[in-house]
Symmetry: C2
Subunit: 228 residues, 2 copies
């Protein structure tokens, strides 16, 4: 029997988060003001601390929330595809990532932006961050299982073989080095392209960044990673 206390608690907790997110969008993480949130909610500024132990903790909650919404978006995009349509899944994942980033720029900035020196993300944060990663890793695993072979050849970089041995152990996927290199590079490119676009380093170059992005995703997926 969830008492009136429990219900009002979840309500105000949500309200605080809602207001924090609004401030995040309009003024950036550095300018979120607990006192202003309290004022907007008609409560004493000190009352906030009954819900969040510090400003940092509020931000951490926002980060986890953002991660999990991103994870959901990526998962949805992936599961909507036929399991065997690897290039379709890759494309869907990449486009969903960009879409989410564009419609949630503040969240994106919070999650993938400059970390504060000394800030150590708590365990749950990292766990939430693994969600979208796992989708991509799974795609690489499926591609390997279905016999996709990368068109590229890994260079004879010193230490690469042993490095990739560790990577394979870390992500739990036994893919050929070529696929690994191609996949990791493709993902880096997707991430990098989105980052450049969101953080505004390419506005003078592209008229419609989405067109170039789509081409980049398709080209890397088919011609570098070798997805079919």
């Amino acid at each position: 029997m969830t008492g009136k206390r429990a219900v009002v608690r979840t309500e105000t907790t949500a309200a605080i988060i809602r207001h924090a997110r609004r401030q995040l969008e309009t003024r950036g993480a550095a300018n979120i003001s607990l006192r202003e949130i309290a004022r907007d909610l008609d409560m004493a500024s000190s009352a906030i601390y009954r819900y969040f132990e510090s400003r940092d903790q509020l931000l951490t909650v926002l980060i986890i929330d953002a991660y999990s919404r991103l994870g959901a978006a990526i998962e949805d995009a992936d599961t909507a595809c036929d399991r065997d349509d690897l290039i379709g899944r890759w494309t869907a994942i990449a486009l969903a990532f960009r879409d989410w980033a564009l419609t949630n720029q503040a969240d994106y900035g919070l999650v993938f932006g400059t970390p504060v020196p000394g800030y150590e993300a708590p365990e749950d944060t990292n766990a939430a961050g693994m969600r979208y990663t796992n989708v991509v890793v799974q795609l690489v695993a499926d591609a390997t299982a279905r016999g996709c072979t990368s068109a590229i050849e890994p260079p004879k970089t010193k230490g690469l073989v042993s490095e990739y041995r560790n990577v394979k152990k870390a992500i739990g996927v036994n893919a050929p080095d070529a696929t690994l290199l191609a996949g990791l590079s493709a993902w880096a490119a997707v991430f990098g392209a989105i980052n450049l676009e969101i953080f505004g380093h390419v506005d003078i170059v592209y008229t419609d960044p989405g067109v170039h992005f789509a081409a980049l995703v398709d080209m890397l997926g088919r011609q570098v990673v070798g997805l079919t």
Copy 2:
């Protein structure tokens, strides 16, 4: 005849920047304190405003400074190479970028990190940002002029041809679409890989990120962009 006033002015200006950069490294941009800088410099906090009109302006100066040091690092790496050794230049540029980012993490975060909503970079900032970009653009131009052809084929993404027409005009390089797509993708991958590494999203995957990065750079340069 640089009077005593002019000389002491440049000195204190430099000292303020020095202290600001130190705080940036240890506590992040959000926690730079003008008052503390003033205390460290044994001057009244209000005196800072004789040198910088606001905290934001100090940050802008730090950004421009970072951009220009990055630009210098990239330019040096490039000019140290034989002009005809395209893959060598590409590799040198990419590695120099990563090196600079790793040894100047705070600067990197300031320049390529989350932008503050509403903050409009002044003209000089963008100019400083073009320096390293120009080096990469020049490499693409040289590659085209020397007849390098990309191994990949641009997909038939709707609107890509006209989009790339604009890009070519914007950067002033008349490269084939394949080279353009390959080059932009490669650069996005380099940037993305560095970003992931610096902002700490891959520490569980790689044991030595540098090895993978070197392989990524070489593979993309040779096998995707087609540099020789």
